[in-house]
């Protein structure tokens, strides 16, 4: 009897927004990577775009090695932006709804031409400084949450699994310290 009483409360505290929007969204992220893989055999990652795009403006040898892949990476990134925009005009704007989708209460929403857009409350200095470290780290570490986390783990790559565990642990530690210091949002 006790587990039946405790379990829902525990679930509620672990997943205050339910799990369906996360699981469905995650499956779609995987599906997007699979569509590209099926057609091209490319296991797509999102962070190499940073370096490959720099090859348009910098002659550094480090960036030039991505010349052959830089065009599709731009297309992939524009696709990601467009896909998120499709989400914004459908679910985020309330045009489409589903029992699997739970709207959130984070950040701020604003309207442009009847489309509901969203703004983060996280402070610019955190985004900028975090961005610099993400830029350096993903390049040294050979991948990010999509390259290592989605395609690498999907490939059962030991390197990727170790990479994911490393950045998960460090990120949790960092976020806890930042929270303890009272930085919010």
């Amino acid at each position: 009897m006790v587990p039946e009483l405790v379990a829902p409360a525990l679930f509620e505290s672990l997943f205050p927004n339910g799990i369906s929007r996360y699981a469905v969204g995650g499956a779609l992220v995987g599906l997007g990577a699979v569509v590209i893989y099926l057609g091209t055999a490319i296991p797509a990652g999102a962070s190499t775009f940073l370096e490959s795009t720099l090859s348009y403006v910098s002659d550094q040898s480090r960036f030039q090695q991505y010349r052959s892949s830089r065009d599709w990476r731009v297309v992939f990134t524009l696709g990601i932006i467009a896909g998120a925009a499709v989400y914004a005009v459908t679910f985020q704007s309330g045009l489409v709804s589903s029992g699997l989708y739970e709207a959130g209460s984070t950040g701020q929403v604003y309207d442009v031409g009847g489309i509901t857009l969203w703004l983060t409350d996280v402070q610019p200095w955190r985004l900028f400084l975090g961005g610099i470290l993400v830029g350096i780290g993903t390049r040294i570490g050979k991948g990010c949450t999509s390259g290592h986390g989605v395609c690498g783990v999907g490939s059962a790559s030991k390197t990727s699994i170790i990479g994911v565990i490393t950045f998960l642990i460090v990120a949790i530690g960092t976020a806890q310290v930042v929270m303890a210091l009272g930085v919010s949002p």
Binding site: V35, S61, G83, S146
Partner: protein, 144 residues
């Protein structure tokens, strides 16, 4: 290219739908307030895992590029740990990773340009630094 765009479209829609394009939601996970992110990464890895395991058995070459199907394997060295740790600090500080940052722009989050600018600065610094190190190593070898 159209196929890569469609793949990116689904990928980005998924990031929006799962709220991963919202740094707050990622930070909530890292602060143990909402463990939903586990289902995003897990769900995505299960889908790619099935495809990456099955497709190479069904056919050998991709129709569009003629490339052979393989797994995403990268060699392991100290850099994976160092880079992973640096990335972890950045991710924990900002709640933003590359793919989610692009998607965040799509949901209207203009403020995310700070993070994108930071990522390009970081990748550029890393590239310069590594180019210089490679250059100095090469010249040292030739001097020997």
């Amino acid at each position: 290219m159209p196929l890569i765009f469609v793949g990116g479209l689904i990928f980005g829609f998924g990031l929006g739908f799962s709220h991963m394009a919202r740094p707050e939601v990622v930070l909530n996970f890292l602060q143990f307030e909402d463990f939903g992110l586990l289902f995003v990464m897990g769900g995505a890895a299960v889908v790619t895992g099935i495809a990456f395991a099955l497709v190479p058995r069904l056919r050998t070459r991709a129709p569009l590029t003629g490339d052979t199907y393989g797994r995403r394997l990268k060699s392991f060295d100290r850099n994976v740990l160092i880079g992973g740790a640096v990335f972890g600090v950045g991710w924990g500080l900002s709640g933003i990773c590359p793919g989610a940052a692009y998607a965040s722009l799509g949901v209207g989050n203009i403020t995310i340009l700070w993070a994108l600018a930071g990522m390009f600065v970081g990748a550029y610094l890393q590239g310069i630094w590594r180019s210089q190190r490679t250059a100095s190593e090469t010249s040292a070898t030739s001097a020997d």
